[in-house]
């Protein structure tokens, strides 16, 4: 559990970060909270000759709530999401999800940016951000560009971010309606056996819009457009929920691991989604 030797860089601004990235190419990795990367380095599963610590780079830890969107800096910790007063009012699903990530110690270190950028299918924030239709801002040698969360994830640890780019912020349209983040895990600190993020709007008893995303049930987070489509225009009754669950099951592709075999995971995914829809709808 001791990493191979590496060079530690602690740049003071983003220009310096990009310069180190440019110099060392794929031998360099940026680190936010370090709670995914450092264990991988200690297991010698990630070889990182140049580690770039972002903690001295300013301007990455703000939470800005605008009239129609929320901007969260990449270095905002899960604990800051939980503690932020305004955020709980405008986007309570963020707090509900963050409270189910790891444990308090990890949440003091783990960041939103690291969680979404790493591409680990077990992470909770990627699915949540897909549900919320967030946009990730990355900066690289060519300047800034925005990538929708729903287009960001390509495979496990493979994302639309280039090696020489750094994810700097996440922008979320102000969520509307009821919400739920439902997660089953074996114990505190575990990744999800199955998790579902649901944000749903109720227009006089009819579902006006809904977004549904699932976590740790594929090699990427799964935004299930079909599951949402099964609910829109319905009264979110049992038939509609069953249809949504069936549609979601068509989109996920879980694999067997210590949490259980595929049949179990699919079953639990269905149960968890049903609960998430019901809870979100009750709040809508």
């Amino acid at each position: 559990m001791i990493p191979a030797a590496f060079e530690y860089h602690r740049p003071q601004d983003m220009a310096e970060v990009l310069a180190v990235l440019e110099e060392h190419g794929d031998e360099a990795r940026v680190m936010a909270g370090g709670h995914s990367l450092i264990p991988m380095m200690k297991l010698r599963m990630a070889d990182v000759p140049h580690l770039i610590d972002l903690q001295d780079v300013g301007g990455l830890s703000n939470i800005d709530i605008g009239d129609d969107s929320i901007r969260i800096g990449a270095m905002v910790t899960q604990a800051a999401i939980i503690d932020h007063e305004g955020l709980g009012a405008v986007a309570p699903i963020l707090r509900e999800a963050a409270l189910q990530i790891a444990d308090p110690q990890v949440r003091y270190m783990g960041t939103v940016g690291g969680n979404v950028a790493n591409g680990d299918p077990g992470n909770d924030m990627p699915g949540l951000m897909q549900c919320l239709d967030a946009t990730f801002t990355v900066v690289g040698p060519e300047g800034e560009r925005d990538i929708p969360a729903r287009e960001f994830y390509e495979a496990a640890y493979m994302t639309a971010r280039e090696d020489d780019e750094v994810l700097t912020s996440v922008t979320i349209p102000l969520p509307r309606g009821g919400y739920a983040y439902e997660k089953q895990k074996r114990k505190i600190g575990d990744y999800a056996t199955a998790a579902a993020a649901v944000q749903i709007e109720n227009d006089g008893g009819t579902c006006a819009s809904v977004a549904i995303a699932m976590t740790n049930l594929s090699d990427t987070p799964v935004y299930s457009e079909a599951a949402g489509a099964a609910l829109v225009g319905t009264s979110v009754d049992d038939v509609a929920i069953k249809a949504a669950v069936a549609a979601m099951l068509g989109d996920i592709d879980p694999t067997e691991d210590n949490r259980g075999p595929v049949a179990f995971k699919k079953h639990v995914a269905g149960v968890i989604l049903r609960r998430a829809i019901e809870r979100a709808w009750s709040r809508a």
Binding site: M1, I2, A4, A5, R44, D103, Q184, R186, K187, I188, G189, D190, Y191, T193, N258, R259, G260, P261, A263, F264, H267, V268, V271, I272
Partner: protein, 808 residues
């Protein structure tokens, strides 16, 4: 005017037996002032670590250390070839087998030690490990003991004769080249006959999965060979420091007086730190070779993957009874998976430990047990994870068989237990498999427990829940887990208990200082049990000096008297008895001194709390403090100066703590998530020394029981890869997963222990595992479940529900 000091005040001032005295250890532990092995830093200290096998079974064709020796900071790389000239490439195990220290031509389990890299610091050692090139040739892997007994693949070529015959092992004849021993207890013929002719017979096969004690602190040591004076000092996480000293002497040839073994603070043991590991041997050799101190500390993965596991018992049982439910016979067969080497920590005559306590708390007239030990490509070990030598397996077995029989009889499982308990008047009770239970009052404990939880009310609620479930009103089932256990602890009488020929007595040496304080040293070693607190309490009550004035010291073989260490709840039954007996020697001498000072005959004074008083004249007395001073400053005719005593205690029998546990659980059949609503634990550990520490022990043991029952396992895939080598997958419960525990007690003293104490550390684990498991199983009983194997993690509970047709 001075307030009168009452006798009650004097008793309270001692903080002796029965006092919930605060732990004296905690001041340093809670302030980060503990001194664990990894806190030891010596001048010039080097660091050693292992190259470990990625394969579970492979031939080693070559090991190239050249590149590793080029790594800056790496000083040496030891392989079996380097140890062979010293005769140290293999070492004896506690079970009479031998084990490779470093891979000698092949590896038998994933993570096996292949080479030992010695470097200036642990970072350089880690880089050196990466640079060692080992050429492996993979061999067929066997992870299932039943397959091992059928396979042509020979795991241990060293145990097959040149003509292909299979010589006997340490425990008698071997049936197959992958077979280790067969061990029997009881009478096969009569048992078969009883079962064949019985009115009712229930049968079940169960697997008690492999798990691991996973102490907070991993195993490690620091070896320091002083070449000037020829003395070896070995600090380590040893649960049995004196036995380690003797073993090191026997295998190294260093005379025992030149070896000093020190167990400093230990962060939990639970059996994991009883055995001898290759890291100890390699550190000693490396220190001798380099002339410098060498430290070796496992990381978490090393600890989980390679040091002593627990359980891995495949058990098949038959239990027979009359139609009314009176049990007539019990038969048990175990296929025991010992891994690549037999490194079980059991007394020599008991290769399956005390598995023959498997008749449990019941008056079963006829029984038979047979255990077959088997080699596989898994890590060696087989320790008593918070249980004396396979008692958890035995209690799990009988407590499951009782439930299975109750189902067969269509009887309430609490009532079935009640009508089969050994009755109070039957003690001392000789069980069919040989043990003599010292004392017990099972009916009283059981009735108290059932009443405390309103058992009948719970059953009524459960019946209603089943109706509601069938009516579609709920998706949660309710399980009521029952467990009544009888422990066997305090190993043990030297006449039948030894480890590597060392009798399992224990010891205490007391010195009273002139001003009336004392130091007592024992052959045991605390790993969190609070010995410094509780042994001082035993002594306070025996010698009449306040516990706060008594220092307890353990773990340094240069100063402490010889003993077999701390595991299997043996410290209180054995060393606690030695402490009381040594205290009584002190008191006997004090009585003579007191009589001299009071100018009366020895028989005219009597002990009273903290003093000797003249019989019939309580105003004439000498306090123990006064007597201590006199022992050092007065010339008393016929009495040597000083006040010291030593006692080596060979217990006449084991002790048999018992208890009644009840768990109420709600189970979500759709997700497989169990929720523990209530857990009631009644323990009878005889005389209670410190109720607060007992309660802490019970909470800890129950939490480890919860872990084992509900998810904790060392799982292997077919290739022998460990699937649960980190705490991500190996379940250690946190405060979040742990329910509130309700503790209770009865007191049935041990008749043969000087203070009547029986030991408690492992009781909650032994009784807790079947209780949690029975709760899960009981929830599904109304739907046809008889038995499912642990661990009851979410997916396995879900599978049970699924197989019973409880999903759409």
């Amino acid at each position: 005017m001075k307030d009168e000091v009452t006798r009650e005040d004097r008793v309270a001032n001692l903080k002796g037996l029965g006092c919930s005295r605060k732990r004296v250890e905690d001041a340093r532990f809670t302030q980060g002032k503990g001194n664990y092995v990894d806190d030891i830093k010596l001048d010039g200290m080097l660091f050693g670590d292992f190259v470990r096998s990625p394969y579970a079974h492979a031939r080693i064709k070559s090991i190239d250390t050249a590149a590793a020796l080029e790594v800056p900071g790496v000083l040496a790389v030891l392989t079996a070839a380097d140890l062979e000239p010293l005769g140290l490439h293999w070492m004896p195990t506690l079970a009479g087998d031998k084990q490779m220290v470093l891979a000698d031509g092949k590896v038998l389990f994933q993570g096996q030690e292949v080479a030992f890299v010695v470097a200036e610091d642990r970072y350089a050692a880690a880089d050196g490990i990466e640079a060692v090139e080992v050429d492996y040739e993979e061999l067929p892997v066997i992870v299932n003991p039943f397959e091992a007994l059928k396979s042509d693949v020979v795991l241990r070529e060293d145990l097959v004769a040149e003509d292909g015959s299979i010589p006997p092992g340490a425990h008698g004849p071997r049936k197959h080249h992958n077979h280790i021993f067969t061990w029997e207890a009881g009478d096969k013929g009569p048992t078969d006959e009883v079962i064949a002719n019985a009115e009712v017979v229930a049968e079940e096969s169960m697997y008690y999965h492999r798990t691991h004690p996973c102490p907070l602190e991993t195993c490690g040591c620091v070896a320091s060979m002083d070449k000037v004076n020829g003395k070896l000092t070995l600090w380590g996480t040893f649960q049995a420091p004196h036995a380690i000293r003797t073993i090191v002497s026997l295998i190294s040839g260093i005379e025992e007086h030149n070896i000093r073994v020190i167990s400093p603070d230990i962060g939990g043991g639970f059996g994991n730190k009883v055995g001898a590991y290759p890291g100890y041997v390699c550190s000693v050799v490396a220190s001798i070779v380099t002339g410098k101190p060498v430290k070796w500390i496992e990381d978490r993965m090393d600890n989980l993957m390679t040091t002593a596991f627990a359980r891995d018992y495949h058990m098949t049982g038959q239990i027979s009874a009359t139609k009314e439910g009176k049990i007539t016979g019990l038969k048990c067969h175990v296929t025991a998976d010992h891994g690549g080497f037999d490194a079980c920590a059991d007394p020599t005559k008991f290769p399956a430990g005390f598995m023959n306590i498997c008749t449990g708390s019941y008056d079963i007239p006829t029984a038979y047990l047979e255990v077959d030990g088997v080699y596989t490509n898994k890590a060696p070990g087989g320790v008593s994870y918070r249980c004396s030598f396979r008692v958890t397996e035995a209690v799990y077995f009988i407590e499951r068989m009782i439930e299975v029989l109750a189902i067969k009889l269509n009887m309430d499982a609490a009532e079935l237990r009640r009508i089969n308990f050994i009755r109070k008047e039957q003690f001392p009770y000789t069980a069919a498999l040989g043990w003599e239970y010292d004392s017990g009052d099972y009916h009283t404990a059981w009735d108290k427990a059932l009443k405390a939880v309103d058992y009948d009310g719970l059953r009524a609620e459960q019946a209603q829940r089943v109706e509601d479930f069938k009516a579609g009103k709920t998706r949660k089932l309710m399980g009521i887990g029952l467990s009544f256990f009888t422990e066997i602890v305090g190993a043990g009488p030297v006449k039948n208990c030894d480890i590597l020929g060392l009798g399992m007595f224990d010891s205490c040496e007391i010195r009273i200082h002139p001003t009336g304080s004392a130091i007592a040293r024992l052959g045991t070693i605390s790993q969190g049990q609070g010995h410094a607190t509780t042994f001082a309490q035993i002594l306070a009550s025996e010698i009449g000096l306040p516990a706060d004035s008594i220092t307890i010291e353990e773990g340094d073989t240069d100063t402490a008297p010889y003993g077999l260490g701390t595991y299997g709840s043996r410290s209180t039954p054995v060393a606690g008895a030695a402490t009381a007996m040594a205290g009584r020697k002190i008191r006997a001498k004090a009585q003579m001194i007191a009589a001299y000072l009071l100018e009366v005959h020895d028989n005219d004074v009597e002990f009273d709390v903290d003093r000797f008083v003249v019989k019939g004249a309580p105003e004439k007395f000498k306090t123990m403090k006064e007597i201590a001073f006199a022992a050092y400053n007065q010339a008393i005719p016929g009495i040597e100066p000083g006040l010291e005593a030593v006692s080596y205690y060979d217990p006449p029998n084991m002790t048999y703590p018992f208890g009644a546990y009840i768990c109420v659980m709600d189970i979500d059949v759709d997700t497989g998530v169990p929720e523990i609503r209530r857990f009631y634990a009644l323990d009878d550990c005889g005389t209670r020394i410190n109720p607060m520490i007992i309660e802490g022990q019970v909470h800890g043991g129950l939490t480890e029981a919860l872990a084992v029952a509900l998810g904790q396992e060392i799982a292997y895939d077919d290739m022998g890869n460990v699937k649960t080598g980190t705490l991500m997958d190996f379940f250690l419960p946190t405060a979040w997963e742990v329910p509130n525990y309700e503790t209770d007690f009865t007191v049935t003293p041990s008749p043969h222990h000087p203070i009547g104490a029986k030991g408690v550390g492992e009781s909650p684990h032994v009784g807790g595992v079947p209780c949690f498991s029975n709760a899960v199983q009981d929830a599904f009983r109304p739907f046809g479940n008889t038995h499912t194997n642990m661990p009851h993690d979410h997916w396995r509970i879900w599978r049970t529900a699924n197989e019973l047709g409880l999903h759409d």
